[in-house]
């Protein structure tokens, strides 16, 4: 239905459920990508996808309506990145879910005065930084 579709894709929506659905849909869309292009792997690995989904679901469980939506992408090895971006004020949270368990999951947070990467051991850290991201 058109109305429902508009609700899901409204970029200004503050609804946590809507933002969660958009985020999950964007993660699932990654599975439909071609396996690779001339730059490298496009479609995420199963490990990266499972890791990203688990963290997003756990974060939404704890944040509910304050869960912010993000953009998703893959690197050339099938890792997944999730980006929460604000241009004004300038603020970025970037979750990196590696293609294999040999690399750590990490979270990068950036402002004009701060530029930090930390390994992510649980979804609590993601929730903490998404709550920080929301304080605009």
């Amino acid at each position: 239905m058109t109305v429902a579709k508009e609700q899901i894709t409204d970029s200004t929506s503050n609804s946590g459920l809507s933002n969660f659905r958009i985020t999950v849909e964007r993660l699932i869309e990654l599975l439909d990508l071609e396996e690779e292009d001339e730059y490298g792997i496009l479609r995420p690995t199963e490990y990266a996808f499972r890791t990203a989904m688990k963290l997003v679901v756990e974060a939404y469980d704890r944040m509910g309506n304050s869960f912010p939506k993000c953009s998703t992408g893959t690197d050339d090895q099938g890792s997944i990145t999730l980006d929460w971006t604000s241009l004004e004020p300038e603020r970025t949270v970037r979750l990196f879910c590696p293609f294999s368990a040999e690399q750590p999951v990490d979270i990068y947070h950036h402002t004009k005065n701060e530029n930090v990467v930390e390994d992510l051991l649980s979804s609590s850290t993601l929730v903490y930084w998404l709550q920080w991201f929301n304080k605009i």
Binding site: L33, D37, L42, N115
Partner: protein
């Protein structure tokens, strides 16, 4: 003593700061909510020992650089140099942004530089098929 005497070396030696370079954008490198370039576009690929980020000197050259190019972004060479990086011309159609670390070696710096390059990028061409 090593001398660089070839014509090509002098021809391609130094790009003025006001030079505009173009980066071909792969699928997923554009934030569709904000129509901005994502930092994914500016990481070196360590698995292939990539030493620089490829850029071109026209939109058309960038369009031919990737088979399924999703967009093209422009950057100013002076702005790139302000980040402590450099851009060199390798040929008449290809340039290289040099000075970036691998994400695997220096995560904070690689993330920061990729983000700052993305913020400097202006989308100048975008594919209609999203």
């Amino acid at each position: 003593m090593i001398e660089q005497s070839s014509e090509s070396a002098s021809e391609f030696e130094k790009l003025p700061d006001n030079t505009v370079v173009y980066r071909a954008l792969r699928k997923g490198w554009i934030d569709r909510d904000r129509s901005i370039v994502k930092s994914d576009a500016y990481y070196l690929r360590k698995r292939i020992n990539e030493q620089s980020i490829s850029v071109n000197f026209s939109i058309e050259q960038s369009l031919s650089a990737l088979k399924n190019c999703e967009g093209v972004a422009s950057l100013n060479v002076g702005g790139i140099r302000e980040l402590g990086l450099n851009v060199v011309r390798d040929s008449s159609s290809h340039g290289s942004i040099i000075g970036l670390p691998y994400r695997e070696d220096n995560r904070p710096r690689a993330n920061e530089l990729a983000l700052l390059l993305a913020r400097q990028s202006q989308i100048v061409w975008e594919s209609l098929s999203k």
